[in-house]
């Protein structure tokens, strides 16, 4: 049965609340029939009226409240209505939730999940379309995980709720409506798939059975599907074999799967929907350069939003945010004009 990302996340929340009465929802406008701005929490307040707390418009305050709940053994799942407003909870995350466990000599844990719907392409304008997760990468004590439509989004959320570390769970608004693409027996459609171990497995997808390839494209969250599309197009239209690496835990980053893939392809493109400077792509490129410089046969490229706010007009928004076209161009650029030595089939 096919499902959407939204449905998968919603069902996971339902079953977690059913199974574990320590799980609480905290956020704005969560109550049914409304059920949250993007409906990820729909139906929960009907089923668990005492454990779904709709809040005032107090992002800092309710992230703090949830941190307190987590400190006392509950498993709060916070929704920030638009990820753009994570900025308001920055102090709570950086100077409170993320520090407590270490600072208090591991006497306590803060099993807090903060869900943040990010991303544009819906015409919401400069303050409701951003992908701000890069600003929350690399906070000591704060894990960052991003969900994509591959495998099981709901299972990823389950892992996050089971995680004993404070964790930012990045969702993507456009992605909610996307169909989930299952990974089964090491395959997803035409792709062969490798997964790392652990709660947030990194996927590596290959259209060339991991025998090699022209380039490695790293993409997470909402960009992952675009990278997969670009890979499909590049194969069909230009006979280019691209491996797509999809990390889920953005911080701390396990760069090994990227290094391995670049070992096979020699070329690297990293994608993110947010603006690029000092972002996720920077970390991936720096980590790969640090670990496997010799494997890079061409200068790596970053695909990201232009360094401007996200305009409301469709023309501006489309030009600002990266799409499959930008990914394909970057792949072509790292491959260069000449055919590589390796050829498929």
């Amino acid at each position: 049965m096919t499902s959407t990302v939204l449905r998968s996340l919603n069902q996971a929340l339902h079953s977690m609340m059913e199974e574990d009465d320590r799980v609480y929802m905290v956020g704005e406008d969560l109550l049914d029939p409304y059920g949250g701005a993007f409906k990820v929490t729909r139906g929960l307040s009907m089923a668990f009226p005492d454990r779904v707390w709709t809040t005032p418009i107090s992002e800092a305050g309710f992230v703090g409240v949830a941190t307190g709940m987590a400190l006392r053994g509950l498993r709060p799942v916070v929704e920030i209505m638009f990820g753009d407003f994570l900025t308001l909870a920055c102090d709570q995350l950086v100077n409170h939730a993320a520090k407590f466990s270490w600072m208090y000599a591991e006497k306590v844990e803060v099993p807090l999940v903060v869900r943040a719907p990010m991303g544009g392409r819906r015409g919401y304008g400069p303050t409701h379309s951003q992908s701000l997760e890069k600003h929350f990468l690399g906070v000591p004590g704060l894990a960052v995980v991003a969900v994509d439509p591959f495998g099981s989004p709901g299972d990823l959320l389950r892992q996050a709720v089971a995680d004993r570390r404070p964790l930012l769970f990045v969702e993507n608004k456009v992605m909610y409506a996307r169909r989930v693409r299952a990974v089964q027996a090491g395959r997803m459609g035409a792709f062969s798939v490798r997964e790392t171990a652990g709660p947030y497995p990194t996927l590596t997808l290959s259209l060339g059975e991991f025998l090699g390839g022209d380039a490695t494209v790293v993409a997470y969250g909402g960009m992952a599907e675009l990278a997969v599309e670009a890979a499909e197009e590049l194969l069909i239209e230009e006979e280019r074999v691209v491996e797509v690496v999809i990390p889920r835990q953005l911080h701390p980053l396990d760069v090994e799967p990227v290094v391995e893939s670049v070992g096979r392809t020699g070329r690297l493109v990293v994608c993110e929907e947010g603006s690029g400077a000092a972002g996720f792509g920077a970390e991936v490129v720096a980590a790969v350069s640090g670990r496997a410089l010799e494997a890079l046969q061409a200068a790596p490229r970053r695909v990201a939003a232009l360094p401007v706010p996200i305009g409301n007009a469709p023309t501006l928004e489309a030009a600002t945010l990266p799409g499959t076209g930008e990914i394909s161009s970057a792949v072509r650029a790292v491959i260069g004009p000449a055919r590589p030595l390796y050829s498929i089939g």
Partner: protein, 323 residues
């Protein structure tokens, strides 16, 4: 129609120069706002417009009741629900329509859309609460520069949940900022009724910070207009902040089609709709004439706006680039 060259006339000056009784003038403005938004919503329904928008249907009396007291040079900082505020301030439906349609001729070139606009001394932003200290800073700057201008910032009942609002109240009070905080309490914040988002009392919150505070429960534009006359004058005269709460109601959905409030509740409030309320006091002929004139203006404004080109992607330039 683009009229960019003529000098801007503030709301008070325009009000004084306009004709008709107080009720007629207020009605004309309210009708403009109402009809503007109804047209907008139709365009969204037809799929001509995408993205989102927040109409102020039911709250037009706030816009006209407050803003007509502001002089040229006074500043308004508005929020996500800013169309009515803007139209009362600038009377420029064509530019607002173009902006919401994402056209280059819009107020800010299609960059901001429905909730991020700027024109002369009018600003709006879509992040709840954060505008309140910014508006306070503007008021302090005007005071420091000795211009005599005042600032008016609009916020909703739900936005009283944002802590930074109290930081701003505290500073405005400590430093005597000439600012009017207008709380439009429409009883709901998105899907959340006021009882679930707000404890205590709105007026008491202002007073607890030493900010003179008042409240009025009304959708009567004339009444609100009268109520704020003295308040605006006092802010200007004393240079002290004031928090003015208007208890009103939102008759439309929060944004586009997301209304899940109890039908009976909304229905009961329709009886207090500020537009028919004021119309009932007007001479039928005058009212019809006003409406017809507004319709004509809006017809032209929307068709002009729809004709404008979308901004070219080539205009995108890093705001940090110094060249």
């Amino acid at each position: 129609m683009d009229g960019g060259s003529s000098e801007f006339v503030g709301p008070r000056q325009r009000w004084l120069a306009s004709e008709g009784s107080t009720a007629e003038r207020l009605y004309g403005q309210m009708w403009l706002i109402r009809e503007f938004e109804e047209r907008l919503l139709s365009l969204f329904e037809e799929g001509v417009l995408t993205g989102t928008t927040h109409a102020c249907i039911g709250q037009e009396a706030d816009c006209v009741g407050v803003i007509n007291h502001l002089e040229t040079g006074d500043v308004i900082f508005s929020n996500h629900r800013c169309h009515g505020h803007f139209l009362a301030y600038a009377d420029r439906p064509e530019w607002l329509a173009a902006e919401i349609m994402g056209r280059g001729a819009g107020l800010v070139g299609g960059r901001g859309g429905s909730q991020h606009i700027c024109y002369e001394d009018f600003f709006s932003n879509g992040v709840q609460g954060g505008i309140v200290p910014v508006a306070t800073g503007i008021a302090m700057a005007e005071k420091a520069r000795g211009t005599g201008r005042i600032v008016c910032v609009f916020l909703g009942d739900g936005t009283l949940g944002q802590g930074v609002v109290y930081e701003a109240l505290n500073m405005a009070s400590l430093w005597s900022a000439p600012i009017l905080f207008v709380v439009e309490d429409n009883r709901w914040a998105q899907s959340t009724p006021v009882e679930k988002e707000l404890s205590g009392s709105m007026v008491a919150r202002g007073e607890a910070f030493g900010v003179a505070s008042s409240e009025i429960t009304s959708t009567d534009a004339e009444e609100i207009y009268g109520h704020f006359e003295g308040i605006v004058a006092a802010v200007r005269k004393t240079g002290r902040p004031h928090l003015g709460v208007i208890h009103t109601y939102r008759l439309c959905h929060h944004s586009k089609s997301d209304d899940m409030r109890p039908e009976e509740e909304v229905e009961a409030r329709r009886a207090l709709d500020p537009v028919p309320l004021l119309r009932s006091r007007l001479d039928e002929e005058r009212a019809s004439a006003i409406e017809a004139a507004v319709q004509k203006r809006l017809e032209e404004a929307f068709s002009w706006a729809l004709d404008q080109p979308h901004p070219a992607a080539e205009t995108l330039r890093d705001p940090l680039s110094t060249s």
